[in-house]
């Protein structure tokens, strides 16, 4: 019985204008995004080959991550070159393009598409499920048969979810396969498994919005009313709340700005060099620079980590933030991974710094190992995924409540 209803939903969707628009949008966007981000990755990869350090240079560089094609995140920052000098860590190759227009708009990666556009699409699939059938009179007709309201709801949900998920998976996998053809981009098992997980989490995210849409439909009598509410909820949940948390957190956790930090470091360095010229006791001064910098940095890091944690907790009110955290952490381009890379670079610096001061020649290689999936999951991704699932269940349960009380007349 439920399957009959699901089948009816699927066929009905396939014949509808709405579905046509959605598929068109999906195909255009996914393929364009993959194409563009793939090129972007290739360019960054060729830049990496330019700045790759020699085997014994005191330079730490991490190559660009192929998964950044899907979740660009902080990969550009993570692919910078960190040269250990007597002053400390010297960052090179920070800015890839002088085209400022890039800074105005978010990168159109897979995460952006799913987070912003597919969430809207899923909402649009769900929002008129109940109210439209009521308006057409077919809801009454269905319920005059021996089929429970729960079955109707579940059947509708399954049918609509399949209509969304199957084309989505299909288009994504085709795009992914095309990309694999490029020998310059190798995903290996690391990339394949993680891409699969990203796809899975994205599906959970999409289904959450489908359920939200159906929830709204189960509580509104007229489709026209529900679409307004739906669109504003979408705009708030996708654009405002995830970013609001960061702003609020900054008010509460006092973190010095990066400018303040670098100004202090410059002041320390020039002061010590001036004093060094006067008394020629260079190693003393370099050590003092290093000491004070380390203190500054540790203080900054502590405060910054508090800020990150705080903002994370507030942002997560919106499941959209959880999606961002989960997907970027799995891809290895998120805040957590960047923090881990920086810790490794600092560790590397501390390891070779004494030799750098003494101006030795041969330094050990730096190579960064991404956090394993189990680490990623225990550090928060499991929570984020569970949170997304929770919202799925919550919205579905609420829709059931709405459906049960729904006035079908």
């Amino acid at each position: 019985m439920t399957w009959n209803i699901a089948k009816k939903e699927i066929v009905s969707n396939l014949l509808s204008y709405k579905f046509f628009i959605v598929i068109l949008l999906m195909v255009i966007l996914v393929f364009t995004s993959f194409f563009i981000m793939h090129r972007d990755f290739k360019e960054r990869l060729s830049d990496y080959h330019l700045i790759k350090p020699g085997p014994e240079d005191p330079i730490a560089v991490n190559p660009p991550n192929p998964l950044s094609i899907f979740v660009k995140g902080l990969d550009e920052a993570m692919a910078r070159s960190y040269e250990i000098s007597r002053i400390g860590i010297d960052v090179k190759a920070g800015k890839q393009s002088g085209n400022i227009i890039f800074s105005y708009f978010s990168a159109p990666d897979f995460m952006y598409l799913t987070r912003v556009i597919l969430s809207l699409v899923a909402l649009l699939f769900g929002f008129d499920q109940i109210s439209r059938e009521r308006e057409k009179g077919t809801l009454k007709l269905m319920l005059s048969n021996p089929v429970s309201r729960a079955k109707v709801l579940i059947g509708k949900w399954i049918g609509n979810f399949l209509c969304l998920a199957v084309p989505f998976i299909f288009v994504t996998l085709i795009g992914f396969a095309f990309m694999n053809l490029d020998p310059g981009v190798s995903f290996e098992s690391f990339g394949l498994v993680r891409f699969g997980l990203i796809l899975l989490v994205s599906l959970i995210y999409i289904s959450l919005f489908l359920s939200l849409g159906m929830l709204i439909s189960a509580f509104s009598k007229r489709t026209a009313a529900s679409i307004v509410i739906l669109l504003f909820i979408w705009a708030i949940v996708v654009f405002i709340i995830p970013n609001l948390g960061t702003l609020v957190a900054r008010q509460i956790v006092d973190v010095p700005s990066v400018r303040a930090l670098s100004e202090k470091r410059d002041q320390i360095w020039t002061r010590e060099v001036l004093l060094g010229i006067q008394d020629r006791n260079w190693s003393d001064h370099y050590n003092r620079i290093s000491q004070e910098n380390n203190m500054l940095e540790e203080d900054y890091r502590n405060k910054f980590n508090r800020l990150i944690r705080f903002s994370k907790n507030i942002n997560r009110i919106s499941p959209v933030a959880s999606y961002i955290y989960a997907v970027s952490d799995i891809a290895g381009t998120g805040i957590g991974e960047e923090g881990s890379l920086k810790r490794e670079v600092i560790r590397y610096k501390n390891q070779i710094f004494p030799d750098v001061i003494e101006q030795k020649e041969n330094f050990p290689n730096f190579s960064y190992r991404y956090r394993s999936l189990s680490q990623v999951f225990t550090r928060g991704t499991l929570f984020d995924t569970a949170w997304l699932l929770f919202f799925n269940i919550l919205f579905f349960a609420l829709s059931y409540l709405g459906m049960v009380r729904y006035d079908v007349r």
């Binding site: 019985m1 009959n4 209803i5 009816k8 066929v11 009905s12 014949l15 509808s16 308006e135 057409k136 009179g137 077919t138 009454k140 007709l141 269905m142 319920l143 005059s144 048969n145 021996p146 089929v147 429970s148 006035d407 079908v408 007349r409």
Partner: protein, 244 residues
Amino acid sequence: MEKPILKAHDLSKRYEDGVLALDHLNLDVRPGEVFCLLGANGAGKTTTINLFLNFIPPTTGTCFINGIDVTKDPLEAKKYVAFVSENVMLYGNFTARQNLDFFAKLGGRENLDKEDYHQVMRRVSLQEKAFEQRVKNFSKGMRQKLGISIAIIKDAPAILLDEPTSGLDPKAASEFLEILGELKQEGKAILMSTHDIFRAKDIADRVGIMKEGRLVLERTREELQYEDLVKIYIDYMRAEPLAL
């Protein structure tokens, strides 16, 4: 006499805003019987049907379909009743047959084939070429025919109809009522709400006039041979509102 398939016992419904839509309604419909409910808008006709289908819960009283209490076991009860709504758009992107197929399966008729559907649609005089056409282009009359074919294919012992001929041209309306007559001969218990007193006179075995939630008058076909239904109806409509 056979037991009634449709039975309303002491049925009352007061809405949240205080309006008393039904006031201790008692009626029953037996197999092979057509019962027409007449009354002005808001008299309680549609509420009665909604209560039978468990779309809303009664304030007091019970509806029985085939002896089953509709609020206690709605899914079981709904096996025995088919419904034809007043103005049904159906699934516009589906063809007539696809609509029929879907609702047949919902109604429990699983293993029907195309020919079965075609037969039913022919029976209701739906044009052949419309069978595989999308419903969104159908006229009202065509949709009503499809609606009744949905009810026919379910093959349930009772049929509920809510203003089925409203908005139909005279030819379509009389075709529709012919079909109802056939169904009555087959032994279906039919409860129909309508404005159309003229046709009601022709088709009904029994007629009930509702006013402000009460069944104020009931007449059988024989009784109506001697009384002018139209006159009675209009008199009741003109009379003072009933006491609370």
